[in-house]
């Protein structure tokens, strides 16, 4: 079989024909598909991803916030526990007068009231 025989054989196979109304309606069908693709999705399909994103972002914000804000508290707690003996002495020496205990980078501070 040479090339022209093969070409003739390939071309001899006709395309299956479609009814005339198919060709008439096909462009409108494409247009309908385009309109459908362009129209906004129904709310029920949109809320879930939006909710998931908002929930995710809020949760991440909460975790970051807790991590950031828990650091000073931890530092104060550690400072107080490290000076537990000193705090106990002060509480014994000034029963009912110690009002506030506070720790910062300069050390431990406390507020003593004049009256119980």
């Amino acid at each position: 079989m040479n090339n022209s025989d093969l070409d003739a054989k390939l071309k001899s196979v006709p395309l299956p024909d479609r009814p005339a109304d198919y060709w008439e309606h096909f462009p409108a069908q494409v247009r309908w598909q385009l309109r459908r693709a362009a129209s906004p999705q129904p709310i029920c399909e949109r809320w879930l991803p939006t909710f998931a994103w908002k929930f995710g972002v809020s949760f991440a914000g909460l975790v970051v916030g807790l991590l950031v804000f828990s650091q000073p508290l931890n530092a104060v707690s550690c400072a107080i526990f490290q000076k537990e003996q000193f705090v106990r002495q002060q509480l014994t020496a000034l029963p009912g007068h110690l009002r506030v205990l506070m720790a910062d980078e300069h050390g431990l501070h406390y507020l003593i009231a004049e009256k119980e």
Partner: protein, 183 residues
């Protein structure tokens, strides 16, 4: 680009859906023909033709008219067909569907049963080709594009097209001769 196409493309780019509908009307048979030769299934050919026009509409803003509109559309259609995935089971089913569709066409007595069988063999042989070789055959033999035009559509070099056509012809000759397809 043909003047009529150019005007319709321009109107579509300006947002006229009616102009695009007219472009679809003018090129629908060409695209259906290509998608049918590539898939061997009327239903898949219809889906792929629709997909081609939907993609064309989405991309028409980027069409600058450096190539013919039909060449540009062919390229979209071929890429759509090449991306069309078919499992082995589906491929097997398609061979059966294709044979059925062709035989239904010729049941009206226009062709003899020998012709129908030969047509089935040809279509099955085409579907057995790797997709890129099939695309090269469809564009050059069925649609009459020269190798340079086919290369533009397929996004490869002329040498690659020539090789694909050569390789596909060799396989088709072997399969169709072996099947006793010569009439």
């Amino acid at each position: 680009m043909a003047d009529a196409d150019a005007e319709l493309v321009l109107q579509t780019q300006k947002g006229s859906p009616a102009a695009f509908e007219e472009l679809v009307r003018q090129h629908q048979r060409m695209i259906h023909s290509l998608t049918f030769r590539m898939t061997g299934s009327l239903a898949d050919a219809e889906d792929l033709a629709q997909e081609t026009f939907i993609r064309a509409y989405a991309q028409i803003g980027a069409f600058r008219g450096s190539a013919k509109f039909s060449t540009w559309l062919y390229r979209i259609a071929v890429n759509t067909c090449l991306n069309w995935k078919q499992s082995e089971a589906r491929r097997f089913q398609l061979h059966a569907n294709c044979a059925e569709e062709i035989s239904v066409q010729h049941r009206n007595g226009e062709n003899s049963s020998a012709d129908t069988q030969a047509n089935q063999q040809v279509q099955e042989a085409l579907l057995k080709l790797p997709a890129k070789q099939r695309a090269a055959i469809v564009l050059t033999i069925y649609d009459g594009l020269n190798h340079a035009e086919a290369a533009q559509v397929l996004g490869c070099s002329e040498t690659t097209v020539s090789w694909r056509v050569f390789s596909a012809r060799r396989k088709l000759k072997r399969w169709l001769s072996k099947n006793g397809g010569a009439r």
